[in-house]
Symmetry: D2
Subunit: 290 residues, 4 copies
Amino acid sequence: MANTEFSYVKSFELPDSLPPSNFIVVRIDGRGFSKLCKKYRFAKPNDRRAIDLMNSAALEVVKSFQDIILAYGQSDEYSFVFGEGTQIWERRSAKLATSVASLFTAEYVMQWNDPKFFGGNAEEGKEKVELTRPFPSFDGRCVCYPKKKILRDYLAWRQADCHINNLYNTTFWSMVLKGEGMSGTAAEEELKGTLAKDKNEILWSRYGINYNNEDAVWRKGTVVYRAYDDEENGADGQGKAQKVTARPQSKSQLEKERKRKMKARIVVEHTDIIGDDFWNKRPYILGTGE
Amino acid sequence: MANTEFSYVKSFELPDSLPPSNFIVVRIDGRGFSKLCKKYRFAKPNDRRAIDLMNSAALEVVKSFQDIILAYGQSDEYSFVFGEGTQIWERRSAKLATSVASLFTAEYVMQWNDPKFFGGNAEEGKEKVELTRPFPSFDGRCVCYPKKKILRDYLAWRQADCHINNLYNTTFWSMVLKGEGMSGTAAEEELKGTLAKDKNEILWSRYGINYNNEDAVWRKGTVVYRAYDDEENGADGQGKAQKVTARPQSKSQLEKERKRKMKARIVVEHTDIIGDDFWNKRPYILGTGE
Amino acid sequence: MANTEFSYVKSFELPDSLPPSNFIVVRIDGRGFSKLCKKYRFAKPNDRRAIDLMNSAALEVVKSFQDIILAYGQSDEYSFVFGEGTQIWERRSAKLATSVASLFTAEYVMQWNDPKFFGGNAEEGKEKVELTRPFPSFDGRCVCYPKKKILRDYLAWRQADCHINNLYNTTFWSMVLKGEGMSGTAAEEELKGTLAKDKNEILWSRYGINYNNEDAVWRKGTVVYRAYDDEENGADGQGKAQKVTARPQSKSQLEKERKRKMKARIVVEHTDIIGDDFWNKRPYILGTGE
Amino acid sequence: MANTEFSYVKSFELPDSLPPSNFIVVRIDGRGFSKLCKKYRFAKPNDRRAIDLMNSAALEVVKSFQDIILAYGQSDEYSFVFGEGTQIWERRSAKLATSVASLFTAEYVMQWNDPKFFGGNAEEGKEKVELTRPFPSFDGRCVCYPKKKILRDYLAWRQADCHINNLYNTTFWSMVLKGEGMSGTAAEEELKGTLAKDKNEILWSRYGINYNNEDAVWRKGTVVYRAYDDEENGADGQGKAQKVTARPQSKSQLEKERKRKMKARIVVEHTDIIGDDFWNKRPYILGTGE
């Protein structure tokens, strides 16, 4: 039969399962989003509708993949964290990265026209913004983090990046758009080599802006996570932490786990995840055990 | 600075460049498309608007990536072939698979509402079909094929698969939907173990269908390729084949190559790619050299 | 220059660094050692000279690679554990596996002729055993273990394997070689499906052997490790545990670490490593931290 | 049973089979051989016994692995080429690299004491050279080459490297050891930036050395290959080339192939493998087909 003659070509598909007992982060990034920001005239330094759309798309992705324990997003990027023991698709790297990137894309472009985002809103005096080619798309990759502490450092890295960029952008665009208005080049020149406190000072002294009063969505980015803090999950209101172990779970354990996940609330917050506080209050996110 | 303290986490991103001098096939597959077919009541055995939408999305992907030399699609899958020497994104596997899957997804859902597809068409009496969650999405993977002959066998494998499935489906759905109408189980039972000629015979004797007259889009699937068959590219009307070599090209060669690709026509056909004829007439697709 | 024309071939060497913050186990196995046992008439069930030679070769490997924190061997296999933060050869997998396998091989065949092993020993009435082709050789592979607990489970797996095989072999060869002497087939048949306690009972009732009195080298295998239990390293006589962290170390930390390793004793023991006792007494082996 | 509790650790061993239809080169390199050359006072620029030992060890490796079609060595390195269709150990990378490196090591240290090499030879007035720790060892790696042309470029790269280094070393050591004797630094200084013809001129004009008359083992390195040039294999005295195809072979084909390999002669030569001549005369080495 014709098919058997050719089917040896399947042997060229190499296995790509990620190692067990590692958190899997799928990070997606907008492709060519600096062009896209200009094309659709996103507000500077930050566009509320654009970030709300990112967060709304991410929320749907988290809903869709039960094994995502937490997601963190800022600017045009989002990191989706799968639990260290996830068995989804045998942990196949390409399957995971493409499924997440594809679903995120579908949600992003489908929700674009929502009145909450770019669909136009007569009441608020917002015009519809028509999507045209090239349509928004996202690339992605899987990265494995072997330990809770390192996963937290990864997330801290992204949130620190958010802070650094947002402080810079807030200052830069104040200098360009407010007061007498500097040229971009002049603002860039002046900001070269400045520290955080210098930028805070510029914002305060020249524009009366207290950076700490800026909206947390810009300063902290967005965390989306499954919360197990109801009565059923933990009498202390914090949720029970599951003991995570590398040893495989029995079928009944897996079934119990699946039901537990279905009951979880999904929470969206703009809060600090660098310090210990967030994690100490929600021990169920990373689980206990090494 | 906070960021340097955490930036070691970047070292967990392992390199994933695919080996040089291999054709790279990015194959995408619809996620959960059997459910989706039912949900949107796609016609059986084949839905014209659905396949036209697939092909239209694929065309945009081919347009968007100059290094795609050919794509082949059938049912809810599409294979995009990048030239064996492509240097796009240093041949990084995750970047390639996610970018293609994401762009295809964006095109698929954005074009869905086109009157040509599911947007409704009063003239043709077609109603609009509203997309609802879960939105269509696609997974994908990269596979390397080291030689022209093997790449052709890969494509032949997909086209043989198209033929086998379509002959089966055409027969099965004729038995179920035409004449007195068998139950699915009964049709399945009768078809068990039948050869191609048996199915052809059933189609002809019972339903007056000559399978070879079925539309080629179903029998052969769809080929999309860059054609270099104009005067400039080849006096013989077949296009000049480029000599492909594993040795790196100079900047001026790369620039020349880029301009050549921009001038290429993109062709969509439903034709046999198992035999030699297609390839002999278009030597420029795979190039010469080993 | 001729060389530049060809040097593009280097690009086919793909990177193979193992992920950071994982213990790296290089396990080597004798190639074709069941044949080799017969050829050199190794004693059954266990040959003292052969196992001593394995352990002596392993000791030299541990001495040679400062980053090996512990090794465990039994039968014709040895597992060498590199510390989770090792930076040796950028953690390149092939370099690690081949270097260990090659050095072990060199030591094994060079020490073979030692009077302690197969070099002959007039005093003890042992004849020299000449090595002939095919010479002993060993294959190997690297495996990453992301957490202390899992590394311990790996080592427990090997030691449990040692126990199971040795109990079986001790019983089997007693049945064949002692008393009236059964055929191999008959002994195999009788042992089929027996539990540990059944084998213990056979050994005791038929041959007066208390399995627990068998030499620990057979029952437990061999552990080789770097000990930091001198005064300098820990006042409590147990050695100070180093805090291991995924974050990169400074040069002065690395230098301090190097000196510490040079001062360590290397210890060879036949002891239980499945329970907690061994590890609790030597916290410096795996270090503290997650 | 204890073993099942731990056996999940096997899942951390990731598959590492190399892609089909690629030549697999296992290249081994002496570890720390510049030190070793000094320690054993190898003759400069080249030591005959040392290179003969390398070649003799390589010969045994080629004999031992039927799927090696050719090996090329120079200095302290050797490249073993496995046929593009080899199925040995499912083409597992670590298994291949460690087995070759280990066997080569065993042969190297076991043959060291042969009178032909460093075992001492009263007749020729050569003293025995005792091997002491650290014993010679070799690291290795697998590299895949997808096409005949690229494999040839790889081998050409190694042979060009041999030529370049040997011409340099021959000139350098003539300057240092012959005539009045320059210092190493002075010779190095004078050779900086010289071309091949300059070095040839220095050799001829100052030391009366015609580089082309130097022994081919130094100028060309060493090729070891399986020859199929007997009557049975090819009436033309060149041997029949096998058609190599990526499609899997039947059992009877594999058996036939195995017998053919067993009958092959193994040839050791010091000849040019950069040009076409060597390959045109021995089409059976790489086979026909793409």
